[in-house]
Amino acid sequence: MAEDTKPTADPEPAAEDLSPADGGPTAAERFINGILPENPVYRQLLGMCPVLAVTGGMKSAVTMAAATGFVLICSNVIVSLIRGLLKPHLRILVFTLTIATFVTIADRTLAAFLYQMSKTLGPYVPLIIVNCLIISRCEICASKQSVGVAFFDALGMALGFLLALSSLATVRELLGSGTWFDMTVLPAGWPDWGVMILPPGAFLTLGLLLGLCEWVGQIREARAKRSS
């Protein structure tokens, strides 16, 4: 019987863990995947802390997305390069070490060249270290795939994160101050919805946007079911 040729102790690797050569997702597919279908915030619900905290304005949201993207891509690439040397029970340690180093570099660079923005973002840049998104990408993808695949996966996730942050920041900044990227967009008569800039506004906006994404997803599923 053909099934007995494989040792029973070894389970079938999940489709996602396969490298492109073995039939898993290609680099391009992973890239597209990260932006909308597996969006880190709206689908995977990871990395919520910065999403709520820095989305009061577009500028800080984009800076945070850039910093997170930098750390994500660099640590994924490094982890992918050393994936052959990782010991199973020390790998989380290695991931954390790598991520913490790149976060320190990002934080210092921001403080040196964008000092005001660094003060606005405050403690949320070091909090990128505990952003579940980065550790989970290192664990799921970078430690098992080649550098190219890991790079595009990280890039896709970073863009997805940027999309999530921007969408939330746009709503909060437009309704809260009538500006977008600090340029006045709404007419002067707009009464600023102060609550949008404050914590409650962040929670409410994210909750409603999540609901919106779910609703769109459900409509598409229903349509797909009807047409199949």
Partner: protein, 216 residues
């Protein structure tokens, strides 16, 4: 699952972690040496760039930093603002205290004979956006210009103002009062020591000035 490695096996298991730790430590040391000075510059510039705005005729490069001991017994840094010709134009002191939401850091400018406030600048605040936030804007701050240092600044809810009074921001009374309290406390704490320092003459307790005067 593999068993935990025995004693001697730890190094062979952990060599990667140790190597990475050393590499990353080196990288961070490099980052610190290159970027550290720039960050220090940024922090200092934050205060210095405001000096010409608060004190007329001051040239920020000529500013001297001096440590004095305040009335509360603690050492504090004050800034001596000098003009083009190194003439004394005014003094600045940093004061901080509890605002409505969190700490507020204020830079207070005093004129050369320590009789009036030339203006204030809010360095750091976390007040409510849209309400207490407006303490950073000129309309509120400019009220302090010209007020006397010899008695406390008082806050009233509505104009017209009389004597050493300012009008609070509508909807942000506590933030406004906090700023006034911070300014008053700072002046009360440091005005005497600065006066003594000005009378004694310079360079007794002067720290190294930011720019080397040999550059002239």
């Amino acid at each position: 699952m593999s068993e935990e490695p025995k004693q001697g096996g730890y190094i062979s298991q952990a060599w990667l972690v140790i190597l990475l730790a050393l590499l990353y430590g080196g990288a961070l040391a490099g980052v610190q040496t290159t970027l550290g000075p720039i960050i220090e510059e940024n922090k200092k510039n934050e205060t210095y760039s405001v000096i010409p705005e608060l004190i007329e005729g001051a040239v920020k490069e000529n500013t001297e930093e001096i440590d004095v001991v305040g009335e509360n017994g603690k050492r504090q840094r004050v800034y001596k603002a000098l003009g083009e010709d190194k003439q004394l134009k005014g003094w600045l002191l940093a004061a901080s205290g509890q605002g409505f939401a969190d700490k507020i850091d204020v830079l207070v400018g005093l004129n050369a004979d320590l009789s009036t406030i030339t203006g204030i600048y809010v360095l750091d605040q976390k007040e409510t956006p849209g309400l207490g936030n407006f303490i950073i804007d000129p309309p509120f701050r400019d009220q302090f210009a010209g007020k006397s240092c010899l008695e406390p600044v008082q806050v009233v809810k509505a104009g017209p103002v009389d004597g050493n009074q300012i009008v609070a921001l509508s909807g942000a009374t506590i933030s406004s009062e906090s700023v006034a309290t911070i300014v008053n406390k700072g002046i009360a704490n440091l005005r005497g020591p600065i006066d003594k320092l000005a009378a004694e003459g310079p360079s007794e307790e002067a720290n190294t000035p930011p720019e080397d005067p040999a550059k002239k």
